[in-house]
Homo-oligomer: 204 residues x 2
Amino acid sequence: MKSKGTLIVISGPSGSGKGTVVKALKEMMPELGLSVSATTRAPREGEIDGVDYFYVTRDDFEEMIEDGDILEYTTYCGNYYGTPRKEAERITGEGRDLILEIEVDGAGQVKKKFADAVTVMLIPPSLSALEARLRGRGTESEEVIQKRLARAVEEIKLASTYDYVVVNEDGGVEDCARQIRRIIRSECNRSFRMSDVIENFTNN
Amino acid sequence: MKSKGTLIVISGPSGSGKGTVVKALKEMMPELGLSVSATTRAPREGEIDGVDYFYVTRDDFEEMIEDGDILEYTTYCGNYYGTPRKEAERITGEGRDLILEIEVDGAGQVKKKFADAVTVMLIPPSLSALEARLRGRGTESEEVIQKRLARAVEEIKLASTYDYVVVNEDGGVEDCARQIRRIIRSECNRSFRMSDVIENFTNN
């Protein structure tokens, strides 16, 4: 077993299908570590602190953000949700890999706080395929669709700042998950992740 | 098909088994491009210029080295053998990947001339395993074995300057070849190799 796991950041614009792909990937790789998120939301009936979430106050959460102790976060219904850096360190420290599915603009921030992280952007096969997917939902107005398309294009421009890009072809969820699994596995062979093995030779 | 192939440099100290692994890899990936080497040796009966080798004069070869037109080279029986940079560019330009099996100290040079090259160092599982392999040949004196061991350790110290490190366990040739195949395939997803795909979105 390798000594340190890898933090894998998976992102992509609306319509890239990242949620579905990450779900397929987690089923394909049950050995992946799961991180417990921190939240400012109150615990619900039956939820356990440190198992379902780490329940913290708004002040604590904002202090964690300031101190760089939150790898990435989002707000929903007025509450913060985020991944504590310590959680990522705990899991990768156990030699397990950890997947974080985050918004496109957050990947750069994670990389700053977690230099060894591997960032993957999922993109649709083409602009027309993306448009078809957004229209396919059939619920949004033309204006909303045009806005989402424009935003997706802006986000895809950031693809070159990611380590890897994976194209999610129509019906290609399993194939995407396999490509990402291959990336995760081959990242284990990166020389800087193999320093323990190399040192076995050079410390003699 | 991707628009540009990747140059894969595979190296490793004596006893790492790189020759056997590269042979297994080539059988596993018949789609890999084959480069024609340049040599100063005279053509033998039936050999064809541009097929078996590019036959060049010593002056030409040395000029190519000076001009950076030889990616890596070695001498054998007083003749030069090397990979012309143009050959590597031709093959990768056709979208095919190319494997170069070279000596450990040459990988850095290749990377300088071919920035997109992927370098892989193959190492034995341990110093004692390496020693057993070198002794197993049963043909060398104790002095030669000690020299080779010391040299191998010096070479393994360069592993951190490679992109990837693959451990060749005893009897693990096929497994190593599969790991390298996985590296080659996942390198196709590196964002800088996906610029054509990304530009399809951003040029609109």
